[in-house]
Point group: C2
Chain length 372, copies 2
């Protein structure tokens, strides 16, 4: 029996605990009941390519695989913790160890369960998302339907997903663009000295539609507007977070004058942040790991839509678990950037697929995944 199954299936004795990391087993101090059984296990995502962002680079992303069991059915969830967001396997493990889901004997009481989880500690949005995703997978399975159907969406309305071309030498950028054949839109990280060069390098080898994420990199609104006009000429579709989120007035001006939609990224995390983006941005980028999961993401979509805002779905490097969870919402968004599972070499699930660049949902109940 491997460690994973040992953790899941065995009533551990105190003597047996010493060799296990502290955070990788169900709460032992809480009475076993007929309630929800939470278990979790650290996992390291292996990146296919070294990931470079703002001066740092890494080849793995820390991750936590989560399960919620109820009456013989297992729901899968996941927390992905890129270091710059402040969560870690240790913090997620600590958070999950401290919550008691066994007190809940009905997984359908999601409002109550997820409110309890949310209130149990501030922050910890990836850890909270892992519980939310597992609970959706579980309840979807109990209803024998995938969540996009439960939500009333139509599978074929999914958008193309963008595929990110990392910052690199012109030669490698050209090579990556050629390798991205099949995708219908590429995402480029801008906000550095070489922004125009990066775009022009891509245009040397491809006329594919682009979107750009500036990561707050432009500091002057006139410069930003000039860049956006130029980018539009180059076939860019929309711009994420062109300027620092602390400058809503400049961004509102930019949005009003921009020929391209301006999407909030760093400026938005959760449902309560949507209001302050209204009148400032054209739309919002929703990421499960930042907004605590599918339930809140769904509410964010509806709130943004009611305010005539664009919606995009983003992700971290994740397995097909969290990517497939996010994809359940994708039929009702404008753009998706759900390539995180394509960037890793050790996926744990078969889930939604990208076919001819388009997110392609399946009929698997829950969040649409099957363990590999």
């Amino acid at each position: 029996m491997d460690r994973k199954h040992f953790i899941q299936n065995t009533a551990l004795t105190a003597a047996g605990l010493s060799f296990l990391p502290k955070y990788s087993f169900p709460n032992m101090n809480k009475k076993t009941s007929r309630g929800l059984q939470l278990s979790f296990e650290p996992y390291n995502l292996q990146l296919k390519h070294v990931f470079t962002l703002a001066g740092s680079s890494r080849s793995t992303t820390p991750d936590m695989q989560v399960k919620i069991r109820f009456e013989g059915v297992t729901g899968h969830g996941e927390a992905s913790m890129p270091p710059y967001l402040g969560e870690s396997q240790e913090s997620v493990g600590k958070f999950l160890s401290a919550i008691n889901l066994q007190q809940f004997t009905d997984p359908f009481r999601m409002d109550e369960i997820l409110e309890y989880v949310d209130k149990s500690a501030p922050g910890n949005t990836a850890a909270k998302a892992a519980v939310d995703i597992a609970l959706h997978d579980l309840t979807g399975k109990l209803m024998n339907q995938p969540w996009y159907k439960i939500w009333g969406f139509s599978a074929e309305k999914t958008p193309f997903t963008s595929f990110t071309i990392g910052i690199d030498t012109p030669e490698i950028v050209r090579q990556k663009v050629r390798e991205a054949e099949g995708f219908k839109i590429l995402k480029v990280k801008l906000g550095r000295e070489n922004d125009r060069q990066m775009i022009e390098t891509i245009r040397e080898v491809s006329g594919i539609p682009l979107c750009v994420d500036v990561n707050q990199g432009w500091k002057d609104k006139i410069f930003a507007l000039d860049m956006i006009h130029w980018l539009k000429e180059k076939g860019v579709q929309y711009v994420e977070q062109p300027m620092p989120k602390e400058n809503p007035e400049d961004i509102a001006w930019l949005t009003q004058n921009s020929p391209l939609p301006i999407i909030a990224d760093e400026a938005i995390q959760r449902l309560t942040d949507v209001q302050k983006t209204i009148g400032v941005y054209s739309g919002i980028n929703i990421k499960l790991m930042k907004c605590t999961g599918m339930r809140e993401a769904h509410k964010m979509v509806n709130l943004a839509r009611a305010n005539n805002m664009k919606v995009m779905l983003g992700c971290m490097t994740e397995t097909s678990c969290a990517i497939s969870a996010a994809a359940q919402l994708s039929p009702v968004v404008d753009w998706a950037d759900l390539d995180g599972n394509l960037l890793i070499s050790n996926d744990l699930f078969k889930g939604v697929e990208v076919i001819n660049g388009k997110i392609t949902l399946n009929q698997v109940p829950g969040i649409g995944i099957i363990p590999l």
Copy 2:
């Protein structure tokens, strides 16, 4: 075989049609397929007591009972058409005859189906609600869960429902209040000359909490504020539509100064109306027959909540079909006025119940009803 079953089960011949009202059978001009099968039948709700409102009175409410069948499962829906709202059995029949649900072979595509229904003609909100409710009943049954569970709510969080005491002579008002024993809050229609007398008559026999619906009856904001202060002293909890909806500035002033929440009723119909109530009212009253059904109502609740507004659920005189449909949302609202099924003597369903004044949900999949 009675007419109802005849209509549902028989492939009607042209010769057999003449004795049937034009609007009471499935579309015959559309090819039979494996799609959704819509049928409908006029029904007249018999009121237990003559209903008096703004000078008119009536003892029946026209209604349309709707079914959507799919793969042997039947979803029930209902349109209730109190005359002052402008729909009738004829208009609903005409609307339902003109839509083609057989083109849809998957009832879970609710976004698409209900968008098609909504766009097929303007207005007709009760007819649209009937389709929405039947579709929810059907899909809930296919998932084997009631919608309050699919939505993630907890059954015991339902509110009390108010029970309406109609305008009448003091003697009959006192008698009605005594008969309303068991309810925990009574609703009183105000906006006439005898507002204070009506409240004082009730207070002669009961200290029960009250809510009032002014139906736009007060024309002066100072008078309205004085009345609301007086009503608060008399144990009133909230006030519906105190002044004409055409005076949002006066109502905003009233809301700002009022010691009681001010709820939009005539001022709100659908999701797109929610925005204009923000900053004007404390909350909104959502009615399925006005907002086109459960799906839009659910979105209205979330939008109102995101703007820190109160939410109440209202109804028309309806069978337990539409009342039980609305009640699925009731765990997440502040107040409910879902007494419409209690006012009729010829209900067709057993559905949600009022126990000790509280809306009590059941475990029946869909909208929670069983035909009597």
